[in-house]
Protein backbone atom coordinates (compact mmCIF):
# COMPACT_ATOMS: atom_id res chain seq x y z
CA UNK A 1 0.00 0.00 0.00
CA UNK A 2 1.58 3.23 -1.14
CA UNK A 3 1.65 5.83 1.62
CA UNK A 4 2.53 9.46 1.93
CA UNK A 5 5.02 9.73 4.80
CA UNK A 6 6.22 12.89 6.56
CA UNK A 7 9.69 13.09 8.06
CA UNK A 8 10.41 15.79 10.61
CA UNK A 9 13.95 17.02 10.05
CA UNK A 10 15.67 18.01 13.27
CA UNK A 11 17.95 21.03 13.25
CA UNK A 12 20.93 21.44 15.50
CA UNK A 13 23.43 24.28 15.24
CA UNK A 14 22.05 25.25 11.87
CA UNK A 15 22.21 21.86 10.19
CA UNK A 16 20.16 18.71 10.09
CA UNK A 17 21.04 15.85 12.42
CA UNK A 18 22.00 12.55 10.84
CA UNK A 19 18.99 10.88 12.41
CA UNK A 20 16.80 12.94 10.09
CA UNK A 21 18.44 11.31 7.07
CA UNK A 22 18.02 7.91 8.69
CA UNK A 23 14.36 8.80 9.19
CA UNK A 24 14.03 9.40 5.44
CA UNK A 25 15.36 5.90 4.77
CA UNK A 26 12.80 4.49 7.24
CA UNK A 27 10.07 6.58 5.62
CA UNK A 28 10.99 5.14 2.19
CA UNK A 29 10.33 1.66 3.51
CA UNK A 30 7.06 2.73 5.11
CA UNK A 31 5.93 4.62 2.01
CA UNK A 32 6.00 1.41 -0.09
CA UNK A 33 6.45 3.42 -3.24
CA UNK A 34 4.44 6.42 -2.06
CA UNK A 35 5.76 9.88 -1.41
CA UNK A 36 8.26 10.94 1.27
CA UNK A 37 7.85 14.56 2.32
CA UNK A 38 10.54 16.20 4.45
CA UNK A 39 9.49 18.87 6.93
CA UNK A 40 11.76 21.38 8.65
CA UNK A 41 10.49 23.85 11.20
CA UNK A 42 12.49 26.69 12.71
CA UNK A 43 13.26 30.37 12.54
CA UNK A 44 15.31 30.35 9.35
CA UNK A 45 15.47 26.89 7.88
CA UNK A 46 14.54 27.16 4.21
CA UNK A 47 18.17 26.46 3.28
CA UNK A 48 17.89 22.98 4.79
CA UNK A 49 15.05 21.66 2.63
CA UNK A 50 17.38 20.65 -0.19
CA UNK A 51 19.40 18.37 2.05
CA UNK A 52 16.31 16.32 2.86
CA UNK A 53 15.74 15.84 -0.85
CA UNK A 54 19.35 14.89 -1.53
CA UNK A 55 18.98 12.16 1.07
CA UNK A 56 15.87 10.75 -0.56
CA UNK A 57 12.81 12.87 0.22
CA UNK A 58 10.61 13.55 -2.81
CA UNK A 59 9.55 16.98 -1.63
CA UNK A 60 10.20 19.24 1.31
CA UNK A 61 8.08 21.70 3.23
CA UNK A 62 9.53 24.37 5.46
CA UNK A 63 7.75 26.15 8.26
CA UNK A 64 9.42 29.34 9.41
CA UNK A 65 8.34 31.47 12.35
CA UNK A 66 10.13 33.64 14.89
CA UNK A 67 8.68 31.52 17.68
CA UNK A 68 10.23 28.34 16.29
CA UNK A 69 13.83 29.41 16.94
CA UNK A 70 13.91 27.13 19.96
CA UNK A 71 12.01 23.92 20.38
CA UNK A 72 8.92 24.16 22.52
CA UNK A 73 6.24 21.55 22.52
CA UNK A 74 3.51 24.14 21.94
CA UNK A 75 5.31 25.85 19.06
CA UNK A 76 6.46 22.73 17.24
CA UNK A 77 3.22 20.86 17.66
CA UNK A 78 1.31 23.74 16.08
CA UNK A 79 3.81 23.82 13.20
CA UNK A 80 3.72 20.09 12.60
CA UNK A 81 -0.05 19.81 12.99
CA UNK A 82 -0.44 22.53 10.35
CA UNK A 83 1.69 20.47 7.94
CA UNK A 84 -0.23 17.32 8.84
CA UNK A 85 -3.48 19.12 8.13
CA UNK A 86 -2.33 20.34 4.73
CA UNK A 87 -0.63 17.08 3.69
CA UNK A 88 -2.87 14.40 5.26
CA UNK A 89 -0.02 11.90 5.60
CA UNK A 90 -0.46 8.19 6.24
CA UNK A 91 2.86 7.93 8.03
CA UNK A 92 5.17 10.08 10.18
CA UNK A 93 8.80 9.43 11.17
CA UNK A 94 10.93 11.37 13.67
CA UNK A 95 14.14 10.73 15.56
CA UNK A 96 13.89 9.26 19.06
CA UNK A 97 15.84 12.24 20.36
CA UNK A 98 14.98 14.66 23.16
CA UNK A 99 12.85 16.51 20.62
CA UNK A 100 11.13 13.47 19.15
CA UNK A 101 10.48 11.93 22.56
CA UNK A 102 8.83 15.15 23.70
CA UNK A 103 6.84 15.93 20.57
CA UNK A 104 5.77 12.64 18.99
CA UNK A 105 3.53 11.36 21.83
CA UNK A 106 1.73 14.68 21.97
CA UNK A 107 1.02 14.59 18.23
CA UNK A 108 -0.11 10.97 18.56
CA UNK A 109 -2.34 12.00 21.47
CA UNK A 110 -3.85 14.80 19.42
CA UNK A 111 -4.46 12.56 16.40
CA UNK A 112 -5.67 9.63 18.53
CA UNK A 113 -3.13 7.47 16.79
CA UNK A 114 -0.74 4.73 17.74
CA UNK A 115 2.97 5.43 17.99
CA UNK A 116 5.87 2.99 18.03
CA UNK A 117 8.82 4.60 19.78
CA UNK A 118 12.55 3.95 19.65
CA UNK A 119 12.53 1.72 16.58
CA UNK A 120 15.88 0.13 15.70
CA UNK A 121 14.84 -1.67 12.52
CA UNK A 122 11.88 -2.12 10.23
CA UNK A 123 10.87 -4.45 7.47
CA UNK A 124 8.00 -5.41 5.25
CA UNK A 125 6.96 -8.95 6.15
CA UNK A 126 3.89 -10.89 5.15
CA UNK A 127 1.98 -7.80 4.08
CA UNK A 128 2.77 -5.99 7.32
CA UNK A 129 5.22 -3.32 8.27
CA UNK A 130 7.05 -4.79 11.24
CA UNK A 131 8.99 -2.57 13.64
CA UNK A 132 11.61 -3.84 16.07
CA UNK A 133 12.39 -1.96 19.28
CA UNK A 134 14.30 -2.70 22.48
CA UNK A 135 12.38 -3.28 25.70
CA UNK A 136 13.36 -4.14 29.29
CA UNK A 137 16.32 -1.75 29.26
CA UNK A 138 17.68 -3.38 26.13
CA UNK A 139 17.61 -6.92 27.50
CA UNK A 140 14.89 -7.98 25.07
CA UNK A 141 13.31 -6.82 21.82
CA UNK A 142 9.75 -6.72 20.54
CA UNK A 143 8.32 -6.68 17.05
CA UNK A 144 5.29 -4.48 16.66
CA UNK A 145 2.77 -3.66 14.01
CA UNK A 146 0.32 -0.81 13.71
CA UNK A 147 -3.18 -2.24 13.74
CA UNK A 148 -5.11 0.92 12.99
CA UNK A 149 -4.57 4.32 11.44
CA UNK A 150 -1.42 6.35 11.00
CA UNK A 151 1.97 4.61 10.76
CA UNK A 152 3.80 6.76 13.28
CA UNK A 153 7.27 5.90 14.60
CA UNK A 154 10.34 7.44 16.20
CA UNK A 155 13.71 5.87 15.34
CA UNK A 156 16.76 5.38 17.52
CA UNK A 157 19.73 7.31 16.08
CA UNK A 158 22.55 5.40 14.40
CA UNK A 159 20.62 2.14 13.82
CA UNK A 160 18.88 2.55 10.47
CA UNK A 161 21.20 3.34 7.63
CA UNK A 162 20.53 6.53 5.70
CA UNK A 163 20.50 6.46 1.91
CA UNK A 164 23.49 7.66 -0.08
CA UNK A 165 23.39 11.38 -0.59
CA UNK A 166 22.56 12.15 -4.23
CA UNK A 167 23.69 15.67 -5.02
CA UNK A 168 21.87 15.61 -8.35
CA UNK A 169 18.51 14.77 -6.85
CA UNK A 170 15.87 17.48 -7.10
CA UNK A 171 12.38 17.93 -5.76
CA UNK A 172 9.86 20.60 -5.05
CA UNK A 173 10.32 22.71 -1.95
CA UNK A 174 7.57 24.83 -0.55
CA UNK A 175 6.89 26.83 2.56
CA UNK A 176 3.87 26.81 4.77
CA UNK A 177 3.01 29.80 6.90
CA UNK A 178 1.56 29.07 10.28
CA UNK A 179 0.13 30.98 13.15
CA UNK A 180 1.79 30.17 16.45
CA UNK A 181 -0.10 31.24 19.52
CA UNK A 182 -0.56 30.57 23.17
CA UNK A 183 2.94 29.34 23.99
CA UNK A 184 2.38 28.09 27.52
CA UNK A 185 5.98 27.26 28.35
CA UNK A 186 8.67 29.91 27.98
CA UNK A 187 12.36 29.02 27.78
CA UNK A 188 14.20 31.55 29.93
CA UNK A 189 17.68 30.20 29.67
CA UNK A 190 19.64 27.39 28.08
CA UNK A 191 22.93 26.18 29.47
CA UNK A 192 24.59 24.36 26.62
CA UNK A 193 26.93 21.72 27.83
CA UNK A 194 26.67 19.22 25.05
CA UNK A 195 30.24 19.01 23.92
CA UNK A 196 31.38 20.63 20.75
CA UNK A 197 32.61 18.36 18.03
CA UNK A 198 31.27 14.89 17.46
CA UNK A 199 27.65 14.35 18.48
CA UNK A 200 27.83 11.45 20.92
CA UNK A 201 24.68 9.77 19.60
CA UNK A 202 26.13 9.80 16.09
CA UNK A 203 29.75 8.95 16.86
CA UNK A 204 31.27 5.85 15.23
CA UNK A 205 33.82 5.40 18.00
CA UNK A 206 33.26 6.19 21.67
CA UNK A 207 35.78 6.00 24.48
CA UNK A 208 33.80 6.09 27.72
CA UNK A 209 35.09 6.59 31.23
CA UNK A 210 33.58 5.65 34.56
CA UNK A 211 34.30 6.15 38.23
CA UNK A 212 37.54 4.24 37.64
CA UNK A 213 38.89 7.28 35.80
CA UNK A 214 39.17 8.83 39.27
CA UNK A 215 39.38 12.56 38.41
CA UNK A 216 38.76 15.16 35.76
CA UNK A 217 42.39 14.89 34.70
CA UNK A 218 41.91 11.14 34.49
CA UNK A 219 39.93 11.69 31.29
CA UNK A 220 43.07 12.92 29.48
CA UNK A 221 44.22 9.49 28.23
CA UNK A 222 40.64 8.80 27.01
CA UNK A 223 40.63 12.05 25.08
CA UNK A 224 43.96 11.22 23.47
CA UNK A 225 42.73 7.84 22.31
CA UNK A 226 39.48 9.38 21.05
CA UNK A 227 41.46 11.88 19.05
CA UNK A 228 43.61 9.24 17.42
CA UNK A 229 40.53 7.23 16.48
CA UNK A 230 38.43 10.23 15.47
CA UNK A 231 35.90 9.34 18.13
CA UNK A 232 34.06 10.99 20.97
CA UNK A 233 34.42 10.75 24.75
CA UNK A 234 31.50 9.53 26.82
CA UNK A 235 30.96 8.65 30.47
CA UNK A 236 28.99 6.65 32.97
CA UNK A 237 26.70 8.20 35.53
CA UNK A 238 29.30 7.35 38.14
CA UNK A 239 31.87 9.62 36.49
CA UNK A 240 29.31 12.44 36.06
CA UNK A 241 28.09 12.21 39.66
CA UNK A 242 31.67 12.35 40.89
CA UNK A 243 32.17 15.54 38.86
CA UNK A 244 34.90 14.08 36.69
CA UNK A 245 33.02 15.24 33.62
CA UNK A 246 29.85 16.92 32.53
CA UNK A 247 26.43 15.25 32.47
CA UNK A 248 26.20 15.88 28.75
CA UNK A 249 28.66 13.00 28.33
CA UNK A 250 26.46 10.56 30.22
CA UNK A 251 25.55 7.37 28.40
CA UNK A 252 22.70 5.14 29.52
CA UNK A 253 19.06 5.09 30.34
CA UNK A 254 19.06 8.65 31.66
CA UNK A 255 21.77 9.80 29.33
CA UNK A 256 22.39 9.27 25.67
CA UNK A 257 21.67 6.04 23.89
CA UNK A 258 24.52 5.28 21.55
CA UNK A 259 25.23 2.66 18.91
CA UNK A 260 28.79 3.21 17.69
CA UNK A 261 30.87 0.71 15.74
CA UNK A 262 33.36 0.63 18.59
CA UNK A 263 32.71 1.33 22.28
CA UNK A 264 35.64 1.23 24.66
CA UNK A 265 34.50 1.23 28.31
CA UNK A 266 37.25 2.27 30.72
CA UNK A 267 36.74 1.89 34.45
CA UNK A 268 33.00 1.29 34.05
CA UNK A 269 31.42 -1.53 36.05
CA UNK A 270 28.54 -2.17 33.63
CA UNK A 271 25.35 -1.42 35.59
CA UNK A 272 22.13 -2.22 33.72
CA UNK A 273 21.26 1.48 33.38
CA UNK A 274 24.58 2.03 31.65
CA UNK A 275 24.21 -1.04 29.43
CA UNK A 276 20.75 0.19 28.36
CA UNK A 277 22.53 3.02 26.58
CA UNK A 278 25.30 1.14 24.84
CA UNK A 279 24.74 -2.60 24.65
CA UNK A 280 23.68 -2.32 20.98
CA UNK A 281 27.16 -1.07 20.03
CA UNK A 282 28.69 -3.22 17.31
CA UNK A 283 31.92 -4.00 19.12
CA UNK A 284 32.49 -3.45 22.83
CA UNK A 285 35.88 -3.40 24.51
CA UNK A 286 36.13 -3.34 28.30
CA UNK A 287 39.12 -2.20 30.26
CA UNK A 288 38.64 -2.79 33.96
CA UNK A 289 40.88 -3.92 36.77
CA UNK A 290 38.20 -6.12 38.28
CA UNK A 291 37.92 -9.39 36.29
CA UNK A 292 34.44 -9.93 37.77
CA UNK A 293 33.06 -6.60 36.54
CA UNK A 294 29.72 -6.96 34.79
CA UNK A 295 30.94 -5.02 31.77
CA UNK A 296 32.96 -8.08 30.67
CA UNK A 297 29.65 -9.92 30.15
CA UNK A 298 28.72 -7.65 27.27
CA UNK A 299 32.23 -7.01 26.00
CA UNK A 300 33.59 -8.65 22.85
CA UNK A 301 37.14 -8.08 24.02
CA UNK A 302 38.39 -7.39 27.50
CA UNK A 303 41.61 -6.34 29.10
CA UNK A 304 41.85 -6.83 32.84
CA UNK A 305 44.14 -4.09 34.01
CA UNK A 306 44.66 -0.53 35.10
CA UNK A 307 43.22 1.82 32.52
CA UNK A 308 46.02 4.31 33.14
CA UNK A 309 48.52 1.72 31.97
CA UNK A 310 46.43 0.24 29.18
CA UNK A 311 45.20 3.40 27.46
CA UNK A 312 48.58 5.03 26.70
CA UNK A 313 49.83 1.74 25.23
CA UNK A 314 46.67 1.42 23.18
CA UNK A 315 46.94 4.97 21.89
CA UNK A 316 50.56 4.36 20.87
CA UNK A 317 49.63 1.15 19.10
CA UNK A 318 46.80 2.82 17.15
CA UNK A 319 49.15 5.65 16.20
CA UNK A 320 51.60 3.11 14.80
CA UNK A 321 48.85 1.40 12.85
CA UNK A 322 47.77 4.72 11.42
CA UNK A 323 51.28 5.59 10.33
CA UNK A 324 51.77 2.23 8.66
CA UNK A 325 48.37 2.52 6.95
CA UNK A 326 49.23 5.90 5.45
Amino acid sequence: MARKVLVLGEVRDGSLRNVSFEAIAAAKTISEGGEVVGVVAGKEVSGLAEALIRYGADRAVTVEHDDLGQYTSDGFSQALLAVIESESPEGIVMGHTALGKDLAPRIAGKLNSGLISDVTSLEEAGGNLVFTRPIYSGKAFEKKIITEGLVFITIRPNNIESLQQDSGRTGETSSLSVEIKNLRTIIKDVVRKASEGVDLSEAKVIIAGGRGVKSEEGFAPLKELAEVLGGAVGASRGACDADYCDYSLQIGQTGKVVTPDLYIACGISGAIQHLAGMSNSKVIVAINKDPEANIFKVADYGIVGDLFEVLPLLTEEFKKLKVSAN
Binding site: D74, P105, S113, A140, K143, E148, K193, G255
Partner: protein, 257 residues
Protein backbone atom coordinates in the same frame (compact mmCIF):
# COMPACT_ATOMS: atom_id res chain seq x y z
CA UNK B 1 -2.55 21.75 45.91
CA UNK B 2 -4.11 18.81 44.17
CA UNK B 3 -1.25 16.57 43.03
CA UNK B 4 -1.44 13.33 41.04
CA UNK B 5 1.36 10.88 40.37
CA UNK B 6 1.28 8.46 37.43
CA UNK B 7 2.90 5.30 38.68
CA UNK B 8 3.72 2.15 36.77
CA UNK B 9 4.56 -1.18 38.29
CA UNK B 10 7.52 -2.52 36.33
CA UNK B 11 9.64 -5.58 36.03
CA UNK B 12 12.98 -4.99 37.72
CA UNK B 13 15.25 -5.03 34.70
CA UNK B 14 18.28 -5.62 36.88
CA UNK B 15 17.00 -9.19 36.94
CA UNK B 16 17.80 -11.84 34.41
CA UNK B 17 15.25 -11.94 31.64
CA UNK B 18 14.02 -15.15 30.09
CA UNK B 19 11.17 -16.05 27.77
CA UNK B 20 8.51 -18.64 28.19
CA UNK B 21 5.96 -19.27 25.43
CA UNK B 22 7.16 -16.20 23.63
CA UNK B 23 6.49 -13.92 26.58
CA UNK B 24 8.74 -12.40 29.21
CA UNK B 25 8.82 -14.91 32.03
CA UNK B 26 7.43 -13.23 35.12
CA UNK B 27 7.50 -16.22 37.44
CA UNK B 28 9.41 -15.34 40.55
CA UNK B 29 10.51 -12.05 39.03
CA UNK B 30 10.90 -8.96 41.13
CA UNK B 31 8.48 -6.10 40.48
CA UNK B 32 9.15 -2.53 41.53
CA UNK B 33 7.84 0.98 41.18
CA UNK B 34 9.30 2.24 37.92
CA UNK B 35 12.43 4.08 39.20
CA UNK B 36 11.53 7.33 37.43
CA UNK B 37 8.10 7.19 39.07
CA UNK B 38 9.80 6.95 42.46
CA UNK B 39 11.28 10.36 41.75
CA UNK B 40 7.77 11.49 40.85
CA UNK B 41 6.32 10.24 44.15
CA UNK B 42 9.12 11.90 46.12
CA UNK B 43 8.69 15.21 44.31
CA UNK B 44 4.92 15.13 44.84
CA UNK B 45 5.40 14.59 48.57
CA UNK B 46 7.90 17.45 48.79
CA UNK B 47 5.60 19.81 46.89
CA UNK B 48 2.68 18.88 49.15
CA UNK B 49 4.76 19.36 52.28
CA UNK B 50 5.81 22.82 51.08
CA UNK B 51 2.48 24.00 49.67
CA UNK B 52 -0.17 21.87 51.35
CA UNK B 53 -2.71 19.71 49.56
CA UNK B 54 -2.92 16.06 48.75
CA UNK B 55 -0.99 13.47 46.73
CA UNK B 56 -2.92 10.78 44.86
CA UNK B 57 -1.02 7.98 43.15
CA UNK B 58 -2.71 6.41 40.12
CA UNK B 59 -1.88 3.19 38.31
CA UNK B 60 -3.42 1.44 35.34
CA UNK B 61 -2.80 -2.22 35.95
CA UNK B 62 -4.09 -5.23 37.79
CA UNK B 63 -4.36 -6.26 41.44
CA UNK B 64 -0.70 -7.06 41.63
CA UNK B 65 0.06 -3.34 41.43
CA UNK B 66 -1.46 -2.86 44.90
CA UNK B 67 1.91 -3.64 46.40
CA UNK B 68 3.63 -0.79 44.59
CA UNK B 69 0.76 1.56 45.41
CA UNK B 70 1.07 0.68 49.10
CA UNK B 71 4.77 1.42 48.91
CA UNK B 72 4.00 4.88 47.50
CA UNK B 73 1.50 5.40 50.34
CA UNK B 74 4.16 4.32 52.81
CA UNK B 75 6.55 6.86 51.32
CA UNK B 76 3.96 9.50 52.15
CA UNK B 77 1.34 9.74 49.40
CA UNK B 78 -2.19 10.28 50.73
CA UNK B 79 -4.36 8.18 48.45
CA UNK B 80 -3.99 5.56 45.78
CA UNK B 81 -6.17 4.56 42.88
CA UNK B 82 -5.87 1.35 40.93
CA UNK B 83 -7.59 1.45 37.58
CA UNK B 84 -8.01 -2.22 36.92
CA UNK B 85 -8.91 -2.84 33.31
CA UNK B 86 -7.56 -6.35 33.08
CA UNK B 87 -10.98 -7.92 32.64
CA UNK B 88 -12.24 -5.32 30.19
CA UNK B 89 -9.37 -4.78 27.81
CA UNK B 90 -7.52 -7.52 26.04
CA UNK B 91 -5.01 -5.54 24.06
CA UNK B 92 -3.48 -2.40 25.50
CA UNK B 93 -0.78 -0.02 24.40
CA UNK B 94 0.32 3.51 25.27
CA UNK B 95 -2.79 4.89 23.59
CA UNK B 96 -4.90 2.74 25.91
CA UNK B 97 -3.07 3.67 29.09
CA UNK B 98 -3.05 7.39 28.32
CA UNK B 99 -6.71 7.40 27.36
CA UNK B 100 -7.71 5.63 30.57
CA UNK B 101 -5.56 7.92 32.73
CA UNK B 102 -6.86 11.08 31.09
CA UNK B 103 -10.49 9.99 31.42
CA UNK B 104 -9.85 9.42 35.09
CA UNK B 105 -8.05 12.75 35.55
CA UNK B 106 -10.25 15.00 33.44
CA UNK B 107 -12.63 16.08 36.21
CA UNK B 108 -10.16 15.97 39.09
CA UNK B 109 -8.96 19.59 38.86
CA UNK B 110 -5.37 18.47 39.21
CA UNK B 111 -2.93 21.35 39.71
CA UNK B 112 0.13 19.22 39.15
CA UNK B 113 0.58 15.79 37.57
CA UNK B 114 3.96 14.09 37.86
CA UNK B 115 5.02 10.99 35.97
CA UNK B 116 8.28 9.32 35.08
CA UNK B 117 9.98 10.22 31.82
CA UNK B 118 10.14 6.58 30.76
CA UNK B 119 9.18 3.15 32.02
CA UNK B 120 12.20 0.85 32.18
CA UNK B 121 10.26 -2.09 30.73
CA UNK B 122 8.06 -0.68 27.95
CA UNK B 123 10.46 2.17 27.39
CA UNK B 124 8.44 4.40 25.08
CA UNK B 125 8.19 7.55 27.18
CA UNK B 126 4.81 8.25 25.61
CA UNK B 127 2.33 8.21 28.44
CA UNK B 128 3.14 11.58 30.11
CA UNK B 129 2.91 13.82 27.01
CA UNK B 130 -0.10 11.90 25.72
CA UNK B 131 -2.01 12.44 28.97
CA UNK B 132 -1.16 16.16 29.01
CA UNK B 133 -2.36 16.54 25.44
CA UNK B 134 -5.63 14.76 26.17
CA UNK B 135 -6.16 16.99 29.21
CA UNK B 136 -5.10 20.04 27.20
CA UNK B 137 -2.57 21.20 29.79
CA UNK B 138 1.11 22.09 29.23
CA UNK B 139 3.83 19.57 30.00
CA UNK B 140 7.58 19.53 30.44
CA UNK B 141 9.52 16.29 30.12
CA UNK B 142 12.76 15.08 31.79
CA UNK B 143 12.87 17.67 34.55
CA UNK B 144 15.62 17.86 37.18
CA UNK B 145 14.24 20.74 39.25
CA UNK B 146 10.80 22.06 40.06
CA UNK B 147 10.02 25.34 41.85
CA UNK B 148 6.48 26.51 42.46
CA UNK B 149 5.36 29.94 43.65
CA UNK B 150 1.63 30.51 43.61
CA UNK B 151 0.53 29.59 40.09
CA UNK B 152 3.99 30.19 38.65
CA UNK B 153 6.32 27.32 37.98
CA UNK B 154 9.98 27.30 37.11
CA UNK B 155 11.51 24.08 35.88
CA UNK B 156 14.93 22.90 34.82
CA UNK B 157 14.74 20.42 31.98
CA UNK B 158 17.50 18.05 30.89
CA UNK B 159 17.84 18.04 27.10
CA UNK B 160 20.50 15.53 26.15
CA UNK B 161 22.80 17.04 28.75
CA UNK B 162 21.95 20.70 28.13
CA UNK B 163 19.73 22.32 30.72
CA UNK B 164 16.84 24.58 29.92
CA UNK B 165 15.16 26.84 32.46
CA UNK B 166 11.49 26.99 31.60
CA UNK B 167 8.71 29.07 33.09
CA UNK B 168 5.09 28.14 32.97
CA UNK B 169 1.95 27.96 35.08
CA UNK B 170 -0.21 25.47 36.83
CA UNK B 171 -1.99 23.26 35.93
CA UNK B 172 0.97 21.36 34.55
CA UNK B 173 2.23 17.86 33.85
CA UNK B 174 5.93 17.11 34.30
CA UNK B 175 7.97 13.94 33.86
CA UNK B 176 10.85 13.13 36.18
CA UNK B 177 14.46 12.61 35.12
CA UNK B 178 17.13 11.13 37.35
CA UNK B 179 18.64 13.91 39.47
CA UNK B 180 15.29 15.46 40.42
CA UNK B 181 15.61 14.25 44.02
CA UNK B 182 16.60 11.30 46.18
CA UNK B 183 13.52 9.18 46.79
CA UNK B 184 13.02 8.31 50.47
CA UNK B 185 12.61 4.79 51.74
CA UNK B 186 9.30 4.08 53.41
CA UNK B 187 9.68 4.32 57.20
CA UNK B 188 8.22 1.74 59.53
CA UNK B 189 5.53 4.13 60.83
CA UNK B 190 4.94 5.07 57.19
CA UNK B 191 4.33 1.43 56.34
CA UNK B 192 1.91 1.08 59.25
CA UNK B 193 0.01 4.22 58.26
CA UNK B 194 -0.14 3.14 54.64
CA UNK B 195 -2.26 0.16 55.56
CA UNK B 196 -5.07 2.49 56.60
CA UNK B 197 -4.80 4.94 53.73
CA UNK B 198 -7.45 4.71 51.00
CA UNK B 199 -6.66 2.53 48.00
CA UNK B 200 -9.60 2.63 45.62
CA UNK B 201 -10.08 0.29 42.76
CA UNK B 202 -12.08 1.32 39.72
CA UNK B 203 -12.86 -0.24 36.36
CA UNK B 204 -13.43 0.89 32.82
CA UNK B 205 -17.15 1.16 33.49
CA UNK B 206 -16.59 3.69 36.25
CA UNK B 207 -14.94 5.93 33.68
CA UNK B 208 -17.81 5.61 31.22
CA UNK B 209 -15.47 4.00 28.74
CA UNK B 210 -16.11 1.02 26.49
CA UNK B 211 -13.47 -1.40 25.39
CA UNK B 212 -13.68 0.04 21.87
CA UNK B 213 -12.77 3.51 23.15
CA UNK B 214 -9.42 2.34 24.44
CA UNK B 215 -8.52 -0.40 22.02
CA UNK B 216 -4.82 -0.48 21.21
CA UNK B 217 -3.60 0.94 17.91
CA UNK B 218 -0.47 -1.18 17.90
CA UNK B 219 0.25 -4.79 18.62
CA UNK B 220 3.24 -6.79 19.75
CA UNK B 221 3.63 -9.81 17.48
CA UNK B 222 6.88 -11.20 18.82
CA UNK B 223 9.25 -10.83 21.75
CA UNK B 224 12.79 -12.12 21.48
CA UNK B 225 16.05 -11.98 23.33
CA UNK B 226 19.10 -10.58 21.58
CA UNK B 227 21.24 -13.31 20.05
CA UNK B 228 23.37 -14.63 22.84
CA UNK B 229 26.73 -13.02 22.57
CA UNK B 230 29.58 -15.44 22.66
CA UNK B 231 31.55 -14.92 25.81
CA UNK B 232 33.91 -12.07 25.10
CA UNK B 233 37.57 -12.71 24.71
CA UNK B 234 39.48 -11.62 27.79
CA UNK B 235 43.04 -11.21 26.63
CA UNK B 236 45.94 -12.81 28.45
CA UNK B 237 49.64 -12.34 28.78
CA UNK B 238 51.94 -9.40 28.95
CA UNK B 239 50.06 -6.08 28.83
CA UNK B 240 51.97 -4.82 25.81
CA UNK B 241 51.11 -8.03 23.94
CA UNK B 242 47.47 -7.77 24.96
CA UNK B 243 47.29 -4.29 23.55
CA UNK B 244 48.87 -5.43 20.27
CA UNK B 245 46.49 -8.35 20.10
CA UNK B 246 43.52 -6.07 20.74
CA UNK B 247 44.35 -3.60 17.99
CA UNK B 248 44.97 -6.55 15.68
CA UNK B 249 41.60 -8.11 16.52
CA UNK B 250 39.75 -4.83 16.11
CA UNK B 251 41.25 -4.51 12.68
CA UNK B 252 41.18 -8.00 11.28
CA UNK B 253 38.41 -9.78 13.19
CA UNK B 254 35.96 -7.07 14.22
CA UNK B 255 36.92 -4.80 11.33
CA UNK B 256 35.88 -1.66 13.11
CA UNK B 257 39.06 0.34 12.58
Amino acid sequence: MNIYVLLKRTFDTEEKITLSNGKINEDGAEFIINPYDEYAVEEAIQVRDAHGGEVTVVTVGNEEAEKQLRTALAMGADKAVLINIEDDVENGDQYTTAKVLSEYLKDKDADLIIGGNVAIDGGSGQVGPRVAELLDIPYITTITKLTIEGQNVSVIRDVEGDSETIETQLPLLVTAQQGLNEPRYPSLPGIMKAKKKPLDEIELDDLDLEEDDVEAKTKTIEIFLPPKKEAGKVLQGDLADQVKELTGLLRSEAKVI
